[in-house]
């Protein structure tokens, strides 16, 4: 089975799916088309994906959903301070008399940027280094592994505070900092799945056929090792959004005049006991966003890991 796979010319588009995983079903279906089939029928995935899609649209074009921009000089009227929700202003007003709904909608963009940029960076850095460590082994592996242990020992929030205190606070720097602290997780997963795969028959066969290290790594190891990385990446996207909110809440993440849900919660927390609505709406938006990404990640994991069924 492995022989034909390696000798056979790879058909376009099927590169990812031609790995040597044992298929449980007899019909011609790869792990990936199986997984996509699965996801199409999974209500958890469909709901999560729908929410994610809504969120992407909102963060791309927030002006479609609100009357004005929160950055207008006339956006906030102090007279309206802390007014409760009404038919015209669904979410009420915050301390400064700004419309909470408008701000909540416009804040989505920063969260989405942080989630996507951090996950991409973490996957690229952690994935590349994990591949390197797992494949080369020896001294490179030892050094990189010790290095990740150091990062694991540093608490995320404190490390984030330290680095952020020297950087300007916006969505891009927050993403960078979270990526610096978050890559070891992907590194470990990538490294161990490379180690699991590198002694498989198809790798030995490819080597016997004269394939070079680079080709073996990219064509045989990577496609087979990437599934767990994608799963963890999808789930941690939500976690990074949550971490951004936590940093902004602590006052060292995204800085005003930028808007972020964490920042809104932090501002509202001063009058929390008198005007809970100002805090609740951004908090609920944040929770739903994180929930949507975790639902998608969970569903993808279930689809890709048949062992859990």
């Amino acid at each position: 089975m492995t022989d034909t796979q390696i000798a056979g010319a790879p058909s376009a588009g099927a590169v990812v799916s031609k790995g040597g995983r044992k298929k449980k079903k007899d019909r011609e279906a790869s792990l990936w088309s199986d997984a996509i089939d699965d996801l199409r029928r999974n209500p958890v995935f469909l709901i999560g994906a729908f929410l994610v899609l809504c969120l992407l649209v909102i963060s791309a074009v927030p002006q479609w959903f609100t009357d004005g921009s929160p950055f207008d000089s006339t956006a906030c009227v102090l007279q309206d301070s802390l007014k409760t929700p009404s038919a015209e202003h669904w979410f009420g007003y915050d301390i400064q008399g700004c419309d909470v709904y408008t701000r909540t909608v416009w804040a989505a963009r920063n969260s989405v940027i942080v989630g996507i940029v951090t996950t991409t960076l973490v996957t690229v850095i952690g994935g590349a280094l994990g591949l390197l460590a797992g494949w080369t082994g020896g001294i490179v592996d030892s050094i990189l592994s010790r290095f990740t242990e150091i990062f694991f020992a540093i608490p995320l929030l404190l490390g984030g505070m330290l680095i952020m205190s020297a950087l300007p606070g916006n969505a891009w720097t927050v993403s960078l900092v979270l990526a610096i602290l978050g890559w070891p997780q992907i590194f470990r997963i990538m490294r161990s799945s490379v180690l699991q795969n590198k002694n498989n028959d198809y790798v030995v066969a490819a080597r016997a056929l004269g394939a070079g290290t680079l080709r073996i790594t990219l064509r045989h190891i990577l496609p087979n090792a990437i599934a767990p990385v994608i799963v963890v990446g999808a789930i941690s996207l939500g976690v990074y959004i949550s971490a951004e909110a936590a940093l902004s809440y602590l006052g060292i993440g995204v800085q005003p005049p930028e808007i972020s849900w964490g920042l809104m919660v932090s501002d509202a927390s001063v009058r929390w006991l008198q005007a809970p609505h100002v805090l609740l709406f951004p908090a609920v938006a944040l929770s739903i966003t994180v929930l949507a990404f975790i639902m998608v990640g969970d569903a993808v994991r279930d689809a890709l890991d048949p062992k859990l069924r």
Partner: protein, 315 residues
Amino acid sequence: MGRYLIRRLIQAIPVLLGATFLIYLLTFAMPGADPIQLLAGEKKADPLVAAMLREKYHLDDPFLLQYWNYITGVFQGDFGETLSGRKVLDMITEAFPYTMNLAIVAFVIEAIVGVVAGIMAALRRGKFIDQLVLISTLLVISIPVFVTGFVLQLTLGVKLKNEWGIDFFSPSFNEADGFRAYLLPAFVLASTSLAYVARLTRTSLMETMRADYVRTATAKGLPRRRVVVNHGLRNAMIPIVTFLGADLGGLMGGAVITERIFNIHGVGGLLAKSVYLKEGAVVVGGVTLLVLVYLIANLIVDLLYAVLDPRIRYA
């Protein structure tokens, strides 16, 4: 066993040194406000005083020399002084008990509630209780800690007292309440990890309950409780114990937010304030302590593996 312990302790040294070095680098070598200027506030720092302070705290030494002086001091129990002359060790030992108590109570809540919920879900797979655990943990994981904190503070801390007349949880930390004062903050701190523990226990136990030895145990006619606890759970514990061990350090680091909401003067708050004030000595000292807790917890976890699974032996 003894040799294994010594080897592990030696392995922990580079991690400890690396982590402190990284924190030291981030604290002192990053561009940013000059700590002496921050000390002087708005007005320009007196050049003579500034020079004196720079001399006293060796701020003009090469970076590596500064780190060397610092770390050799730490190993002799000297964590240095803040720029206003307080002993860092005093500040940390003052704040540490609060955070430690908070983290321990949170850890106990997390371990007990999480494992029990996970067991109940795993044993009734697909039934109501399983769905309940799955959905509620998903919600808890999605809601950020500071939101959970504020909501519980309002409902349990304020509403419960004002509307129901039950004065049990205080919205703000009050040391005089003793153990009770820690319950609400600890529950908030534990909430996210608790959900992870429940899900992990569920998956892990479901997997071991399918194993041959569990079927054999049932076939031998052992009571259900014994099968679940001695055969299933004991073998399912390894990933759970690993998570719990790694999480103890996370709880202490994550206490920054909980301490802020409930107004607890612990290590988290101290570190947050010191990062802002560029009091590098306090930051590095506090983080060193947290890293130590993390390393010790992980070491204990490794030693527990052998207790849980006698096949694992340490040479």
